[in-house]
């Protein structure tokens, strides 16, 4: 761990100013990912601006009939909220399928969106990685790890985004509210918040330097069923090898791309009367497996079709 300094400002404006002013400064929320990465010196902030106790931890009803999740709401808090459970069950399911109880108690809504990939070559600092050192190359390409992207990968990066929560939020058409150092506020659609790797895989979101997530806003719940299902290598405390969120007419897939993957081709096919299996086949036409992750085609075809077919009741994991 590189030496760093730490401070805890009293309000959002001070936090924004500090991060804008100090080179190498970073926001610290739950720290469940950032601190681990600092120990491995993958992240090397010079200064941590602790935003975890800023007044951004409320869950509020919006006038439109949705919910605003403050950036510092914890994963446990959101998953347990009666309004979330009643109106956004896919979100509660997704959060509870991730991490462990201890981690969910610390991890925040904003931090969850900003967690970094779990690609083992990203974590092993003896290996080239374009995320850690742009231009260094990608050890995952040509490696033997199988939990890699089948959509939207590039020659620079085949990593996936590890979040469960963000997949459900994508299906729920959530918005991300931000503020930057100048005080300017922005709203981004979650589905365009994360980026595909292209030749800049180290730039993972559309956030600008010193821009902070202040809330995630859920629109009114869509008509129709919601479900989140996740496949993984053990029953708990494992990242997805594939996941599916369905919320009304919207479908999102997890662990298949550098970002939560909105399955627009599947949605379109369904709209045109395709069966669930046909819709997933339409979506997977664009998939480009690399020989190691081919299993994800069959997995996503089946899991997607099952989620689009099931009522979501009575056969939990």
């Amino acid at each position: 761990m590189k030496p760093f300094t730490y401070e805890r400002p009293a309000d959002v404006a001070s936090a924004l100013t500090l991060v804008a002013k100090i080179p190498g400064a970073r926001f610290l929320a739950g720290g469940t990912n950032l601190v681990d990465l600092m120990k491995l010196q993958i992240e090397q902030p010079t200064h941590l601006v602790d935003v975890s106790r800023l007044p951004l931890a409320e869950i509020e009803d919006t006038p439109e009939g949705g919910l605003r999740l403050g950036a510092m709401t914890t994963n446990s808090q959101v998953a347990a909220d009666a309004r979330v459970r009643a109106r956004y069950p896919a979100l509660a399911q997704a959060i509870l399928s991730g991490a462990s109880g201890q981690l969910r108690n610390k991890a925040t809504t904003a931090g969850n969106l900003l967690q970094r990939t779990r690609c083992p070559y990203f974590y092993d600092t003896t290996k080239p990685c374009n995320k850690r050192a742009p231009g260094a190359g990608c050890a995952a390409i040509g490696g033997i790890h199988t939990n890699t992207a089948i959509f939207g990968a590039s020659e620079a990066c085949i990593a996936t985004h590890p979040s469960d929560m963000a997949v459900a939020l994508t299906a729920l058409d959530a918005r991300v509210e931000t503020k930057s150092g100048s005080g300017e506020a922005r709203v981004l659609a979650l589905e365009s918040f994360h980026r595909l790797p292209g030749d800049t895989p180290h730039i993972e979101t559309e956030l600008q330097p010193a821009e902070m997530i202040t809330a995630v806003v859920l629109p009114p719940p869509p008509a129709g069923r919601q479900i989140y299902r996740k496949a993984r290598e053990r029953a708990s405390y494992a990242f997805a090898i594939g996941s599916v969120a369905v919320a009304g007419d919207r479908v999102a897939l997890g662990a298949v791309a550098h970002k939560p993957w909105r399955a627009e081709a599947a949605e379109l096919a369904l709209e045109q009367g395709a069966s669930p299996a046909e819709a997933m086949a339409a979506e997977l036409e664009a998939a480009r497996p690399d020989g190691h992750n081919d299993f994800k085609l069959k997995l996503m075809a089946r899991l997607g079709a099952a989620c689009l077919t099931t009522t979501g009741a009575g056969d939990g994991q």
Binding site: R118, T126, H145, R229, A231, E233, R234, A235, F239, G314
Partner: protein, 749 residues
Amino acid sequence: MSSVKDWAAPTPISENRSGLIGKGVDRYEGRLKVTGTAPFAYEVEAPSPPAYGVLIASPIAKGRVTLADISEARVAPGVRLVWTPHNVPAQGERGAKINPRSQRGSNPALAERVEHFGQHVGFVVADTLENAKAAATLVRFEYAAEPADLIFEDRFGAAEQPEGEEDVRIGDFEGAFAGSPVRLDETYVSPLQNHAQMEPCATTAWWEGDHVTVHTSIQMVKGGQHTLAETLMIPSTQVRLVTRYIGGGFGGKGQAYDDLTLAALAARELGQPVKVAYTRQQMFQATIHRPAVHMRVRLGAQPDGRLDAFALEVVTHCRREAPFTEHAANFARSLYAAPNRLTGHRLVKLDIPAAGPMRAPGEASGMLSLECAMDELAEQLGLDPIELRLRNEPETDPETGKPFSTRQLVRCMTEGAQRFGWDRRNPTPGQVRDGRWLVGLGMAAAIRGNFLLPAKAGVRIDADGTITLRQGMTDIGTGTYTILAQITAETLGVPLAQVKVELGDSDFPPAPGSGGQFGAATAGSAAFAAGMNLRKALAELATGDPNSPLYGDDPELVTFGGGNIAVDNRAEPLDRLVARAAPDGVYVEGSITPAADARDYSQHTYGAHFAEVGVDPDTGEVRLRRMFGVFAAGRILNAKTAMSQITGGMIWGVGTALHEYNEVDPRYGSFIAQDLAGYHVPAHADIADLSAMFLDEVDDKANPMGIKGVGELGIAGAGAAIANAVYNACGARIREYPLKPEKVLAALP
């Protein structure tokens, strides 16, 4: 030398007058552990403020260090020393005293020659851990890399017979197999696995004059002491090694690692205590692992199921410089009858970290082959898998013809079948559903050898009546403290609260440590012997003391119970006797050695596993629904700790079937999984309803107490029961472990 016949006589243990033997006594050190007040090696308080050491690992798999520039690191804040291959102090050769089965290469630590990815090439000590870590990144290395052999499967052609071993052939396997009307020939693969202990390797070291004290996390206290003495080139008498608690060993801490060597060297150099711990990543890359194993099973049977021919041929791997064989075929030599038999091992040498023993070495991976092959053969024959095993139950050891000391395998299977509801199994796969889940049942047998090694123990009674057992034994979380307290209390007829147990110190009478499920029998038998010697000493003390009510009695007639020493109705409390007649206390030692005729018996522990799993046809995910095991492992000393060991073993077996694996990157020689987020062992949610029972048993050929080991038996065969249940659930027969979703999904229609 003693004979096993000596062990049949009644003892305080077999009489069990206080009922302490077998009782589910709480862990002796349980309160300390759950309150976080049991100091582990890294947490031990040194006599003066310590410095902190950090290890630097090689990013290449093979070659040598050509440059190590310490100029920046040396002047970084708080840095006390920086060592590389070019300036690390001289270290002695590891010679005769080293455990011959040690998987560590020769000295020195921080060798210039790199033999595997993750080998340590640098070491930084600073005033704080943070400063040491920061400075470690400033040491600049250059390497001359050389081509390395990294991939097991690519090197099958170079597989060698392990040195000093021969295949075991009985009858004419090839001829009999060729003539068998029903044949099976399948290969099963168990992957490379890591120990994944919670506590990393760690040492706190300090010197007083020319004597060094090290608190470290090692399963074998004496082995560690001698190894360190050789490394430091000082007599063993100048090394005190202490291991009070171990946060998981599993065979991975049977030997000394670089934390021990370098903490001791640096503490000497600096004249200050030094603490060194491995990182989680270093635990994967710079200790040992269970190697991958390819197991070809051939079974030739008559239509009635009787085996004519049996072969299990194993190919495994080790580090080039550290020969070790995963003896995955050995268990099968005593399991099923078959007149024509072939078992043997081949070894591939690779440039990856060393292979070594991991909990139930041999059985843990080996039984994943034969116990599935028996399931497959049973289906071919149209027999129930239990019935097939019953038809091949041997009367004597199928290879040596020796009598079994005890063998209750059949009862384990039949009792387990009844309690589990085996009769509800539909032999046709894929027929049972629960919601979307496909549900299946599977079973497997379990066998694991039982051992007794030489050991000593010391026991003293003080004037206040406190009895203290001391032994250079370790408790790796298995319950050793607790059972030694029970044995001592029962032997001397005192309440448990009157007994203290002190372990893990090289100054104490030596015991071989924890491993191979020999710990309880070995350490316990020595403790029992010491207790018997103390009885004798106290009997002589009392009967020779004119102030004792026992004065003049025959020492042979003295009895112990309720904290008293007595003859007939004349009695006095032990503390009164000792306070009066031996106010400085009485100390005696006892020892155990294997009986001269112990090898005249085929001696094992046995069990049977039953599992019910669900398979998700959408994802290929397998979930354990319930599991039950029946075991026969001699007299059970502690119902609670033994059950914890046996069910913990079963859970480990679930992991071998479904979760655990690591892989070597073919380009770098590094493991893909280097932390516990990437290396999966079962989580609570994976286990559901899992339980076990022990059959009543006393093995009077095993040791004076008739007990056997339980630490590894639970693993043996457990994973095969899961794999067989997966087949029964969905018809997917996967012979390459673990049965992770992508493999199950690929095998599903």
